[in-house]
Symmetry: D2
Subunit: 366 residues, 4 copies
């Protein structure tokens, strides 16, 4: 069972509530001898941290990660790595009003029904703040991948935000880190900003779609039938707060395609196949093919908005609720680093799992 | 690790190749005392069986399930249930040509690269024939759910096949079993048939989208954060051959929505909330809310087509390949029972997991 | 959860009842490319098969193993290997009398209490016949180890049977396969035979102690803290029917030792340490040290005896019971191949687990 | 895989090194609504804490447990419970000499070989200090068991320390907490003290045997074949530092018994069987019978002694080593609370696992 644990070999268990004293991740199964320090992990934390622009929540968390175990003299020892992030800016009072009413679109109702009680401060365990812990855990994964798969590159970016769509003809990787939307189109960014500002002013929020591109993944990762690489990527992405759909390659559009359009033909390349297209998104039969892996996901709009919504209370009374506080008008933005994080963890886990069974040897062509 | 095993409490391991002597499922963790016999499971097998129309492969398998263990005097004993299906119509010779070339869109290449060797007969382990084993396993799940959740109803149907789309205004549940497409629209079925016939005559195939509706699921199922109900449904569906995308509720369309549109408001109903909409698809924070659960998936078009495709061989030579043999022009059709099967297994597994942790007690409202 | 599944990477799920149509093991996670056929596995089956002497049950099972999946052209493919053994000599009528009464020392009572029903034919799932399935699964492990650890040697033998003790000064490995007791002392074997015959004639049975010696195991296997090699060996041995105690190295005798006696001192050997003793039994901190691994276990006397025992029935009535049928006067004999089997599976599983995390690289000395 | 994780439903992952900033346990799967606070857990910590007598190490750790998550207003919420214990008295300098040499009997060598590097400060991860984390985790288990199994009582005590044996005729439960040996014999305690003092003065250490008695455990716990209750108890106990043997009921002595002596006969009791003996130690076929469960284990003598031992260094040089510092002359003493802790965790885990599969219903007698 893995209530709060991700992974099979490279595993982490996240813990902590939005407004408790701290939250973190217990990382197990990391290869030994990997160079790792807090600064390296902090770089990933800083990308997802709120408070960096008016488009993400104004809550200001230092989100400083401490490594409490598993690293000695700058290298992983192969024992569990405890990563702790103290909550320094909880402002619990913001949330006191909503302890009794169930915020629509949130997990308040379902946690109450399942567990009989819930920590209402900031959504408790169901808060998107949990993604800080997995981004920290993924810092360890990125450190290991840097050693084990130096050619790997994982890049997340927004492809849609409400009515705004990425124009793929204008895709520019270098733009991604230059705007607050992880948008690979520098020119479009101001429009997106204007659009999101108008939504925020309307006391509303908006959904988003994110794509993660995994380049340099070797073939052979994925363990059919029930630990397929795409299965695990789908689960990993769906586990991120607010994600409602996951696609690999053509994704839902595959339903409209014909066989003559869809299957990626091959020609002889150097030391293996050269594919003429990539409808599959880099995975065949649950195993990576060596092509780029393409994962996409949709994130629903923030449910916490300043527009009153109808709901009920714990005692069954009808009420209306405005979710005050500091909330992202588009949680999809902060989901980008979370999605990259999960991609890194899935790839590392499968890399280790594959070498368990096969020793990492690959079948030859030619 | 769970290479070929699904589930946490209700678990099954499928085994067998498309053209080996047999295939099956080893089911573990089933509650004891459940009425079960081969005829009950066979009913589910017959729905997915090929050879029932010209729109599914003409390969004729009796697909007769034998229960080899775990059932005594018509009741499950709580010990592993072995379900075996003998392969009676393998015709291995159909596949002899393709032992050397990698069929585009298939797992031939990736199995070769990962394992260094592969069973080429009918795709071996990567064949959609594996879904027979999981449908059998799900027969056990359905038997247990009949006892434990008598109000549960799981209904799969096609919502798209290539250019054909279900007109949801004409949704008619009673039509689903009356046409070869699991289409909930009796009038449209002849058109779909005509369409698929034309595709087959063009030596082509086509993708599909399937929806599974889970009614009567109690609230409280799902174990956040890494065993969320939607996470597990996404993984389960993505593990089915040829599935490229999975959606819960609004799915990918959530990216275009606003917060005021998306969050499902509540009014006081009898003994709990009454929702005014179901954009969430019945799951909030990874836990079922008591609303209908709505899962959708896209299935890519059959890669085995009679139109020549360019590919390479094991020795790295370029070649063209026509995949002869008996293939479904739309594998999405047979994916409907497989998707229902996975839904049943996920719900049962989570029901048992929930009673492990909470004893099945629910928080009260009012 | 792993009700009926052993292992983490190299995994098998056993299934089947003593008197059902068949029993077997579903083996998953085996490395690909391993030479394997039914004859190789059969060799291990034949060692544990009853009916080879009057000291083991006279039930005659061919115990012929069939490989139903996962092997193609004599090599493992990396997919699940289904091993099936048909039950050909069930004689259910022998057991009809005991369906209502709970045999003392057996699992009849506890299965009834836990599951509410039980398959009484030959003890159903709780019969020692289950060990046939794990010996078959271990045949796969032995095949993989032959390739991956060619220097490994696993040898089980009896060290005690009731009042008879192995004289370790007379230990002779070559004798083990030459007598029906797996006794490494050819001269003592006739005495043991006489002793066991007298016990059988007294309508009684007797316990035994078994030792398994694992030579050639590389250092570094074992994953502290909760997947230590000794932890997993202890669990594996305790899972064998009738085992009541497990020891590593000094075992229970360690309680009487002093620190100056117990810790194994080291001198410089070729390329590593040379130990001056082996009280630890080859495992330090849960990790193999490269020394011989020594595991010992006690097997209780067969509970099925021809002497009447007092018990109760399902309706709570008091009764006396003689367990007729064909039973081993010392089940410990047949536990020897089962213990070797479990040792092989643990070592292979840990070998694969270790290469998952560390890549199989070892720290250097010197 | 579960490198550092115990359990299936009630799970905990321990983390931390002997001389790092902190250590702890991440507890998952705890039922919600359980009353829990730091003081309750602290009670268990205090029992195992070193520094309470001259017979345990003079290192003085406050061992104050902090609950960082998973508890809200004094009740568990069903989410992960992070328990952290700061290391306040590390004195790393004590250990600086031994960074290069491998202490005989310790895990220094095997950690070095497996991981290529190790944290030498106080044994790092392999230190018995890890048991503090599991005792903390077990505090949560005890809190849950207090609610779920109010009649359960788990009692650990020493039965042997080197040459000193408990006289079972003098067993007095009330004495256990009244002496520093957890010895159920008040009169013998001074003798044990004298004996241990003499051993310490001889710069030596001594082994011990511990028994854990589990009273009030309901029948039906344990999931054959590979999650038997005795299997899991054996693994749990063997995972404790320095344990070399585990016994259930008669344990190793079963090898000497006859069937007429061993199987526990039954008479009709109130609402079930009344057993006439308890050779089985409360477990039949891997399932609890309702009788007292009896587990015993041997703990080897402390390897850290003030007598010089021969060993080698990382560079392969021969050397002699005295392990200075503050060490228990008998680690078995502190293993008593650790053994009780593991027993509690196993029972709770199996209780939850059982209700997952069976709903907790029991078969009836009469």
């Amino acid at each position: 069972m893995s209530f709060n644990t991700f992974g099979r070999v490279f595993r982490f268990t996240t813990w902590g509530e939005s407004h408790g004293p701290a939250l973190g991740a217990t990382v197990d199964g990391c290869p030994p001898g990997i160079a790792l320090d807090e600064a390296f992990i902090q770089g990933f934390m800083d990308r997802r941290r709120p408070g960096t622009s008016k488009n993400t929540t104004q809550r200001r968390e230092a989100d400083a990660v401490r490594i409490l175990s598993g690293v000695y003299e700058g290298r992983t020892t192969g024992t569990p790595i405890q990563l702790m992030i103290e909550n320094t800016d909880q402002r619990s009072k913001d949330y006191s009003k909503i302890a009794d009413a169930f915020r629509p679109g949130h997990a308040d109702l379902t946690y109450h029904l399942k567990y009989g009680l819930r920590d209402p401060r900031g959504g408790g365990r169901s808060s998107a703040r949990e993604t800080a812990a997995r981004v920290a855990a993924a810092g360890v994964a990125f450190a290991a991948l840097r050693d084990l798969l130096p050619g790997l590159r994982i890049t997340g970016y927004m492809v849609q935000m409400g009515a705004m769509m990425l124009d793929r003809a204008r895709f520019d990787r270098s733009a991604i880190e230059q705007n607050p939307f992880f948008l690979p189109d520098a020119e479009a960014a101001p429009q997106w900003e204007e659009y999101l500002t108008s939504i925020r002013k309307e006391r509303d929020s908006v959904g988003a779609a994110i794509e993660v591109l995994i380049e340099g993944c070797p073939p052979g990762l994925g363990a059919p039938i029930y630990a397929k690489l795409d299965t695990d990527l789908a689960a990993a992405m769906m586990s991120i707060n607010a994600v409602k759909g996951v696609e690999i390659g053509e994704g839902m559009a595959a339903a409209a395609l014909r066989g003559t359009e869809n299957a990626d033909e091959m020609r002889a390349g150097e030391g293996g196949p050269e594919f003429l297209s990539n409808h599959a998104g880099g995975i065949l039969g649950g195993i990576s093919s060596g092509q780029d892996i393409v994962v996409r996901m949709a994130v629903k709009p923030t449910s916490s908005i300043l527009t009153p919504r109808r709901t009920i209370t714990r005692t069954g009374e009808e009420t209306e609720l405005i979710t005050e506080g500091r909330h992202d008008p588009c949680v999809g933005i902060r989901a980008v680093p979370a999605a990259e994080a999960m991609a890194a963890c899935v790839i590392l886990d499968h890399l280790l799992m594959d070498r368990a069974q096969t020793g990492g040897e690959r079948g030859r062509i030619g």
